[in-house]
């Protein structure tokens, strides 16, 4: 209920409504790509390659004559599904680890904290690259790499929330009434700790989209002909002198998506009034 009220407050102000509208539109593009896209993403037309934006191809064509707008619409599928799946895995795993570490303490907590602190000092891109080196390039590798790269953040955040909550009187009362550890963690502590973690997860999805695009740009993400925003720009670098739109439009798609996520996340933080809880990490 609180979440619904907060969502309504966030969407109620123009600062939250505009980015929310854009996000709904982008998600709709991803879901209904086959209906919305004017062309198929993989149909080549070599005589019409590197065409500038025109009436038939609103965003121009790429080096194989494929319609750029259709590829960007399908690319939203790749980027969003990879980022959302990776961050969801990361949030669930991070919450479980963080809750266990924060609640039980002891050697387990020390081990988790040591690993988290270790990965915390390294940039996500470096962690992702180490994991890609092990798993190998491709969409699946990208997804796992992103979810592990952000794991430390959610573990840390959940652990801090649980530490703050576990000495509350109601927790002690529940324990005295005979509730088990897992009942306390999953029924009492996590529901109270979940909001900041979910919002942090939403904000991280924006970063994950950029990370996915960067790995795609390096040629380590989605393999052709699967359209992905990063990989499209990578193939566009060879055409930078004659067809700059191949780079401009996918980049715009990323920038608009990420900025909308950040602005909406900001409105949500404001509506939920959790800025301090997010900062306490």
């Amino acid at each position: 209920m609180v979440a619904l009220t907060a969502l309504r407050t966030a969407v109620g102000s123009p600062r939250g409504a505009i980015p929310a509208g854009i996000l709904v539109f982008i998600v709709a593009c991803a879901v209904f790509a086959p209906i919305i896209a004017p062309y198929a993403y993989d149909i080549q037309n070599l005589p019409g390659s590197n065409e500038a934006p025109n009436a038939a191809h609103w965003m121009g064509t790429d080096e194989f004559g494929r319609d750029l707008m259709s590829r960007i619409i399908y690319g939203a599928r790749t980027s969003l599904s990879v980022a959302v799946t990776a961050i969801s895995i990361s949030v669930v795993a991070g919450m479980t680890l963080g809750a266990m570490a924060g609640y039980f303490g002891g050697a387990f907590d020390r081990a988790v904290t040591a690993v988290v602190d270790l990965t915390w000092s390294f940039p996500e891109i470096l962690i992702a690259l180490i994991l890609i080196a092990i798993i190998g390039p491709g969409l699946q590798g990208t997804m796992i790499a992103i979810s592990i790269a952000y794991l430390a953040q959610f573990t840390r955040l959940t652990r801090a929330q649980i530490m703050a909550l576990k000495n509350e009187t109601y927790v002690e009362a529940t324990a005295n009434l005979g509730a088990g550890n897992f009942h306390i963690i999953f029924r009492h502590l996590l529901p109270n700790a979940i909001t900041p973690v979910i919002v942090a997860g939403m904000l991280a999805t924006g970063d994950a989209i950029i990370l996915e695009a960067t790995l795609g740009f390096f040629g380590l993400g989605a393999q052709p002909p699967t359209p992905s925003w990063g990989a499209m720009m990578s193939s566009g670098t060879a055409q930078i002198f004659i067809a700059p739109w191949i780079i401009i439009f996918p980049g715009l798609a990323i920038a608009i998506t990420v900025i909308s996520i950040n602005l909406f996340g900001d409105a949500l933080i404001e509506a939920l009034d959790i800025r301090n809880r997010l900062r306490s990490v």
Binding site: L118, F122, P123, L126, A213, F217, F218
Partner: protein, 308 residues
Amino acid sequence: MTSFFIKRLLLLIPVFLAVSMVIFAIVHLVPGDPIDNLLSVNSSPEQKAELVARYGLDKPLWQQYAIWLGKAVQGDLGDAIILKRPVADLIAMNLPHSLALGGFALIFSTVVGIAAGAFSAINKNGWIDRITMTMILLGSTVPSFWLGLLMIMLFAVQLGWFPVSGARSWDALVLPVLTIGLGGVALVARVTRVAMIETERRDFVMMLHAKGVPPRQIALRHVLRHALQPVITILSLRIGWILGGAVTVEFVFARPGLGSLLITALNQRDYPVVQGSLLMLAIAVMLGTLLGDVLQAVMDPRVRERIT
């Protein structure tokens, strides 16, 4: 101070060991025989035998790790499969380029970031502040490789002011430094602005105003100096991110450097090079963080005491 430095350095050893173990493990976690991952496809059985003898690949895993680490510490990181040269030579060739890029980007983000943040804070809520903050929001959310490509299009292709790629001359450094630096500028400026606005509310600032010190002097001499503390903290935490940005941007500008070396090696599955460049990048991040911590300790005695 010296004891702080030594203790901080000792703390790096377990981190270094953990990271090197992960990097060592890459070859063994990748599907297939580790020996095949370290040699080119058409190498003879004799070459395989030589490699096995050199790195003790027939010994238990922990002994292999000890041998690998021992050789790595002495500068022997194996031979590149594709380029057929010692990995250490490749790293020695590429490292100076990465250091120059990372160093300049760090200086640029610090200087411009503090200036922009201070300027914004002094002209708080004016239109200049709003524009600066909007630019900063854009700068921190736009993917850096796209920003790099846009700069290439505008300043190198259209205007022809700077070279498109490579690292043959000094002016080839301008666009890459700008690209990495803008993200850093955004971060530093935001922290500077918030810290200055918070400091302005403190009693000693009101006291200075009451004494009749000119506002500009208060802002620059007193408020800014106080505000630099959190800026240094955030910079020391984020040095790794600036170095990480260098990996991306080197690739975009086709500059030689550790990042380009790593990405190319990853695409070619040249594992000795992957291991060597990852190890060097990790060391760079650790030393960068150390530098930031030491800087903080120099500025603030409380930080020095925290570690003892």
